[in-house]
């Protein structure tokens, strides 16, 4: 007869651990105990290094700009001042754009908006580190990619207003841009889905013997989705030429990063288990971002395989126009956040190089303000959301399929008839 297996002894009482952020509304945040490696301290292996050798870097922090604004250490990409100024400019454009569109939403001109305040360095510097033909699979906080690649602000705004000039024909929520020519894949409302898509694109590029690589983007909250794992698995198995970026801004709507697993490990360290190269990077340091993406791009482009990069940053504003963060974290916590403002840090660097000064900065701000206002005026002249929805109704039934089948043709006729009745006049 089978021996009975031992029965339960008098074990201790179990308890569920539910992670809790350090500070809640009413608390005074204090980040002084946060360990932040000094700029320049993190070593830089060659991009051709074995993945395993990068793994100490998944718990470190690649930083280039020190407290005085100097660029220091092995990751210093030594960019020329023109490029630094261009990056600064684009980061400023992003911030001004965000502010104006946020206000436009508040004025009822559209339904929704999402800022990336505090995270501008990440998308902008990445855009500079990638080649122009590389493909991005972004989330909704990489507007900096489009702006740095020269996509017209006016077109972005037309998308946000869902107006007559919206290239997406009013079909997508504001900020869900898409533009193939600018290497910017369609943003999804569904978190995480773009990550394995980026890997698939990279696999395709490798299958075809191309030289272009893909960069996938995800928030730290969304790394919990199964798609994150599919992406890392496929990237590792096929050594897909891609960069997989986690933007760890420490918040996912009201949930702090501990709910996504940050208490026990960094997001960069997820790379270890897949045998993928990993880097953890100061996301508020444009030069560190540039250097890390450049490193990973070089690695991918020489068939060295994928890299997972965590950009450590802080979501300085609410999640979106639908969110008020003072309900779940201390007001002004972003001021305490020790990695600073990426725009101020890049500006300080340029100033420290003698390549920039307050006067030029003020002039640039004015120029950008005018540029964004001009774009906004032009966009609004083509309509804002509340006026939309009764023109080009027929177009609503296009592109469901390449050819519109009978049932959609019937429905289009019905929708047009309803609209005619509603409007009291004929439409096409």
């Amino acid at each position: 007869m089978t021996e009975p297996v031992p029965t339960r002894r008098n074990a201790p009482v179990l308890a569920l651990h539910v992670p809790e952020p350090a500070y809640r509304p009413g608390d005074t945040p204090d980040f002084s105990s946060l360990v932040i490696p000094a700029a320049g301290d993190t070593p830089r292996p060659e991009p051709s290094v074995r993945a395993g050798e990068t793994h100490p870097l998944t718990t470190a922090l690649v930083r280039v700009l020190d407290e005085q604004g100097a660029a220091v250490g092995p990751w210093n990409p030594r960019l020329d001042p023109d490029m630094l100024r261009a990056m600064l400019r684009n980061m400023k454009v992003v911030r001004v754009f965000d502010d104006r569109m946020y206000r436009a939403q508040r004025q009822g001109k559209t339904s929704f908006y999402m800022k990336c305040t505090g995270e501008e360095a990440i998308a902008v510097a990445a855009a500079y580190a990638l080649d122009r033909e590389d493909m991005n699979f972004p989330t909704y906080r990489q507007q900096g990619l489009l702006i740095a690649r020269g996509y017209p602000l006016e077109t972005m705004m037309c998308q946000i207003y869902s107006n007559a000039a919206d290239p997406l024909h009013g079909r997508q929520l504001p900020i869900m841009y898409s533009d193939k020519a600018h290497g910017f894949f369609s943003i999804s409302g569904n978190l995480g889905t773009q990550f394995p898509q980026a890997v698939g694109w990279a696999m395709a590029s490798a299958i075809k013997g191309d030289s272009r690589i893909a960069m996938g983007w995800i928030g730290e909250g969304a790394t919990a989705e199964g798609d994150f794992h599919s992406a890392l698995t496929f990237a590792s198995v096929y050594q897909a030429p891609c960069i997989l970026a986690v933007v760890n801004n420490q918040w996912a709507i009201s949930s702090f990063s501990g709910i996504a697993g940050a208490e026990q490990a960094t997001f960069a360290s997820r790379a270890v288990g897949y045998g993928v190269a990993g880097l953890r990077v100061d996301g508020n340091d444009a030069l560190a971002v540039y250097a890390a993406v450049r490193w990973a791009a070089e690695r991918a482009r020489s068939n060295g395989g994928p890299t997972l990069i965590e950009f450590f940053t802080y979501r300085a504003e609410g999640h979106s126009t639908s969110d008020d963060p003072t309900g779940y974290r201390p007001a002004g916590e972003e001021q305490q956040w020790p990695l600073g403002d990426p725009i101020a840090r890049l500006k300080a660097h340029l100033v420290s190089l003698g390549e920039w000064d307050d006067e030029r900065d003020a002039a640039l701000d004015k120029e950008i303000d005018a540029e964004v206002r001009k774009a906004q005026k032009a966009a609004e002249s083509q309509g804002v959301l509340p006026e939309q929805g009764f023109d080009r109704i027929g177009s609503m039934f296009e592109d469901v399929y390449a050819e519109t089948p009978w049932h959609l043709r019937e429905q289009r006729e019905q929708a047009l008839a309803e609209a005619r009745e509603y409007l009291g006049h004929d439409i096409a």
Binding site: L173, A224, S255, I259, Y328, Q411, E418
Partner: protein, 337 residues
């Protein structure tokens, strides 16, 4: 008796069952400290503690999967999927596991799990905050699908769902969280306070699953609907002076077939109304059933009112939404043919 909107009624349902049953556990994205993006779980963590109501990682598959494990242990998880449009990463756990567990274990492992999720359009949420995926659940044997249309029903049905021994997907029409919506997007919004069904009793009561409500008695045509569309149907009935019998199904599976058949046999005409994409929607099942069971009483084909077979396009919210005009034309069609 307290006047409550739908969110408050749903919140209260949680409080009632959590207070009486320590095995009820609530979790989901942002439901803990903050109380959910629609505030349906506001204050529950404070009232019942961090291990009774807590935030979950953004992993709908993990949320449903871990809820199944909890139910296997003996708890009653009530989970929130932030938007019905985001339920798909959890779809495998729902279809392959949750729905079939009682069956495949010959009754040994029951799954009293409730999946709450805001659904439907009308809030300019675009393609991914507007979907009505109920038909993807009504096809799944073992699942129950419940959709309330008033605060009173929301509380009573939710308590019934939590107390039910089987898994329930509970879709909340988000457009009517704050007030009934009759489809006239160009008119001022009415708050729930003006509607009798906002009188919500305090404490425990249930609205039984599987029972429809005849929300308007009538003779000319039977309207079968649920969720937001109940209010649109009622308004269209009045506005067009049609003596319709309006049936709020409340539970789609198991369906209250007797109430349906009785009504259609009386009126001889039937309109089925859903907000979801038309093709293969739950309206198709309703139309199929009605013609199967009431064929010789029908004086006209069963007519379907539905959303179009496209994604829900942001700017075309009111062209997509099956509103007063679509209702009116359908009523005319079913009455005049």
């Amino acid at each position: 008796m307290t006047t409550r909107n739908m969110i408050q009624a749903i919140n209260d349902a949680h409080r009632v069952v959590m207070a009486s049953d320590p095995d009820v556990i609530v979790f989901g994205e942002d439901v803990g400290f903050f109380g959910g993006v629609f505030r349906a779980t506001e204050g529950l963590q404070k009232a019942f503690g961090k291990t009774r109501c807590f935030d979950a990682p953004i992993s709908e598959g993990g949320i449903v999967g871990s809820a199944i494990g909890m139910a296997a242990y003996g708890l009653k998880p009530v989970i929130e999927i932030q938007f019905a449009d985001y339920i798909y990463p959890g779809y495998d756990q729902i279809v392959s596991e949750l729905a079939r567990m009682r069956y495949r274990t010959a009754g040994e492992w029951a799954m009293p799990v409730v999946i709450r999720s805001p659904y439907g359009g009308g809030i300019f949420g675009g393609q991914t905050h507007s979907q009505s995926p109920e038909a993807l659940f009504t096809h799944i044997a073992g699942m129950k699908t419940v959709i309330p249309s008033t605060p009173y029903d929301a509380k009573g049905l939710l308590i019934a769902a939590i107390e039910d021994p089987d898994p329930v997907v509970f879709f909340e029409p988000k457009r009517i969280y704050n007030g009934p919506f009759d489809g006239h997007h160009d008119r001022p919004v009415t708050p729930w306070a003006k509607h009798p069904a906002s009188e919500v009793p305090d404490g425990h009561y249930t609205v039984p699953l599987g029972k429809a409500a005849v929300v308007r008695a009538g003779e000319a045509v039977t309207i079968l609907t649920y969720g937001t569309m109940v209010h649109v149907a009622l308004a269209a009935t009045e506005e067009n002076g049609v003596d319709a019998e309006v049936i709020d199904l409340r539970t789609l599976v198991p369906l209250d077939i007797d109430t349906i058949v009785e009504s259609v046999e009386k009126t001889g005409r039937c309109l089925v109304v859903q907000e979801a994409t038309r093709t293969s929607g739950f309206g198709a099942e309703l139309a199929a059933l009605v013609q199967e069971r009431c064929f010789y009483h029908l004086e006209a084909p069963v007519v379907r009112v539905a959303g179009w077979d496209t994604p829900y396009p942001h700017a075309y919210e009111w062209v997509y939404f099956p509103g007063p005009l679509r209702m009116k034309n359908a009523l005319r069609q079913v009455l005049e043919s």
